[in-house]
Symmetry: C2
Subunit: 447 residues, 2 copies
């Protein structure tokens, strides 16, 4: 067994350096993104860590290949983070990692800087205490996950031989909930788009023109409202096409999982759920696709008729849905709505990520369950889903021909993408121990 004998404060101080770099892939400068990448590369010194360019933000690479005859795994994660959102809602500055009891708060703390940090420390402990890792490990950390990984495919394709491995292990993809350990078997796909309604050539005084011209915000509201039925299903023709019916067996498995929808909702400050009729909350979350309006912009709190209104829409997809077909269906729906003479356009984002799954019977899943059972003795390890999207998974399957195991020590309730994102402090040590077990188990599955 490795010894993880540094103080928590030491680990936190080091991770703080990483969180302090505001590597918001949507709008940070190339210098800022490079600073985050350089920090990671320095941590990978034992593996020849280095920053490599892509057509977008750079990737960080490294490899330790001294375990002759042992399997090779590719560890994946991302050093970019989401925008902060409204700064006023943060309890502490987003780029200052702040610890209060078991909460380590900061943008990127749990998505995905903390979980990356866990695997780095595990690998460094192996090198320091055992002179090397129990298996061959390649590292690939990207800087564009939060914007849909637009350049990862090109990079992986071009470097497929160098990245070849028996398995990808993703340090991204949170555990389902804090009450027990879980391994995720699936993640949802993603497509997203802007709906843009353009009116007059300039913003108009709502008094001097109101009532005579169509208002882009009215047209946009009508379009966005039409995307769902009143009872919560997606109203887009063809949206659900290709999805196999939910089997009675799967329904039974899900029903057997200890889960209280009421507690789940209460934890969010809600007294009532809402979603596609005919499915339970957990079925909606794991087995059904969704469509959400993520933002609307146009005008402001003054008396104008804005000349332009934009809504951002994203869809989470399940197995069977074709991302291009979904985009096409949503676009057709939007363009068929009444526009009162205004110009309505749809601008899809680059990402077209299908859903992904790894079978429960896969040896890597069995090893992950065993590793978690070792770290959390006496607790059942649940087989769950990641209702979020991990674009890299499908890409690794297509380009490298290998499955991806989700092995993150983030937890889904840790305000990912929202103000006050945090990671549980205890997950650092639990994670290091679990990665140690996982790597040893993968070396010798019989053990």
């Amino acid at each position: 067994m490795l010894s993880f004998n540094r103080d928590d404060a030491d680990y936190v101080a080091e991770l703080s350096e990483f969180v302090a770099v505001p590597s918001v892939s949507r709008d940070a400068s190339p210098q800022t993104m490079l600073a985050a990448a350089n920090w990671l590369a320095a941590q990978l010194e034992f593996a020849g860590g280095r920053v490599e360019p892509t057509a977008g933000h750079p990737v960080v690479r490294g490899e330790w290949l001294g375990a002759s005859g042992a399997p090779t795994v590719l560890v994946y994660g991302h050093y970019d983070v989401q925008p902060t959102g409204d700064l006023a809602e943060w309890l502490t500055p987003p780029f200052e990692l702040t610890v209060e009891d078991d909460v380590m708060r900061g943008r990127g703390a749990t998505d995905d800087k903390g979980p990356i940090y866990v695997v780095l420390k595990t690998a460094q402990a192996f090198c320091a205490q055992e002179g090397g890792l129990p298996l061959n490990v390649k590292f690939l950390f990207e800087g564009e996950e939060e914007i849909g990984s637009p350049h990862l495919r090109g990079y992986v394709t071009e470097h497929a031989a160098e990245l070849a491995a028996d398995l990808v292990i993703s340090a991204d993809g949170a555990m389902w909930r804090p009450t027990e350990p879980s391994v995720s078997l699936a993640s949802k796909g993603l497509v997203s788009l802007d709906v843009i309604v353009t009116g007059a050539s300039t913003d108009l005084h709502s008094g001097r023109y109101g009532g005579t011209v169509a208002n882009p915000l009215h047209v946009l509201a009508e379009i966005l409202a039409s995307l769902h039925t009143p009872d919560g299903a997606v109203a887009v023709d063809g949206f659900y096409a290709g999805i196999p019916p939910l089997s009675e067996q799967r329904r039974g498995e899900i029903a057997d999982i200890p889960f209280s929808a009421a507690s789940f909702l209460a934890g969010l400050g809600l007294s009532q759920g809402h979603g596609e009729p005919g499915y339970s909350t957990l079925e909606r979350l794991w087995e059904r696709p969704t469509l959400d309006v993520n933002g609307i912009s146009g005008g402001g709190k003054y008396t104008v008729i804005p000349h332009r209104a934009v809504g951002h829409v994203s869809c989470r997809l399940v197995l069977g849905q074709d991302p291009d077909a979904v985009l096409k269906a949503v676009t057709a729906h939007v363009l068929a709505r009444p526009a009162s003479g205004l110009l309505v356009t749809v601008r899809p984002d680059e990402a077209r990520v299908p859903a992904y799954t790894i079978p429960a019977s896969h040896p890597a899943v069995r090893a992950a369950v065993a590793a978690l059972e070792a770290v959390y003795p006496g607790q059942e390890v649940l087989l769950a889903c990641v209702p979020g999207t991990l674009p890299a998974t499908e890409l690794f399957e297509t380009e490298l021909g290998v499955k991806t195991l989700f092995f993150s020590f983030s937890t889904a309730d840790e305000k990912l993408h929202a103000p006050n994102e945090f990671m549980r402090l205890r997950r650092l040590r639990e994670g290091m121990r679990a990665w140690e077990h996982l790597w040893r188990l993968l070396t010798d599955p019989a053990r």
Copy 2:
């Protein structure tokens, strides 16, 4: 006749000083608002110009009362301006008055700093060239018009005796269009409100929660879309209550006005109008109330379910509508919509301005028409409406018992409230000459 013999460049340079103060009443500092007020007070030196406090931004006062036996008029205007909106859309910096041919561009150039400047120069020319004004003039310039004049009523009530006059002349309230002079006989009322939809206690990751909880943006879009019928009428029960039917005589008068809806729309970059069925474009503009969504905010271009979404709605009212009743009707409509378990609240803004009118037969209207005929020989002076809102008018009628004449040299197409607001340069001289005629005519209506 007065001589207005300074160069245009001189006038522009002086007005530039006023425009350079970014007196955005919605968010400027008290110091900035005071700087604009002080500039005005200095211009009113001939009338004992001074800044006086209110519970909000200060007012600027002055009076020249040396015309014994002549009538007394109160000149009204406002030194505050609208926010700039998107700076990227401005051709030149908003607070640098920029002249290109007949265009003087800058925030506040035409609403209302330029029109105020015109009356100041007229009064100063009278004092310099004739030793005084032909009638008694009091000045009242406020700093909160663009936020609904929340403190003007209190101030006017408290100073009613000092402000007593035979007539208010408003330097605010644009002429209808640039092709001919016009006098406005009416302005619309205004109420406005925020519709606020509150969901979970924090923004939620759209993957990890999407499909299980109601999205505040979906609920808001449905509410806002429900405010109009598909053909453009306001769908709020009781919204049109109290409005007398449009008489055949008024319809005839409006139909007789040379007006091309197609050109009006083409000037806005639109090929098609949209509004309440059964009314012409000009009838919609002058005689019918409107409801517009002015802005929506919530979320952004990233994959969250925002925990809060806000829509700002304003209504322009016509004679017969009670502002409180309209607010109540809109609120009831909003709160009756399906909310999928989320919290929907309505927060009305302070302003509750009823519509206003002055009869065409009023002596001041006749004097204004004569003054404009003198400045624009051979052109018919149209009797029009201000579809915008001038909250002060109703207030002066109620608190001082006098009518307000609109006498502004702004024009409604000059991008009021929008980026690239401008005033026509020639309107400066035309305006000075017209104010000269108006004041002389009001002294001796028989002349």
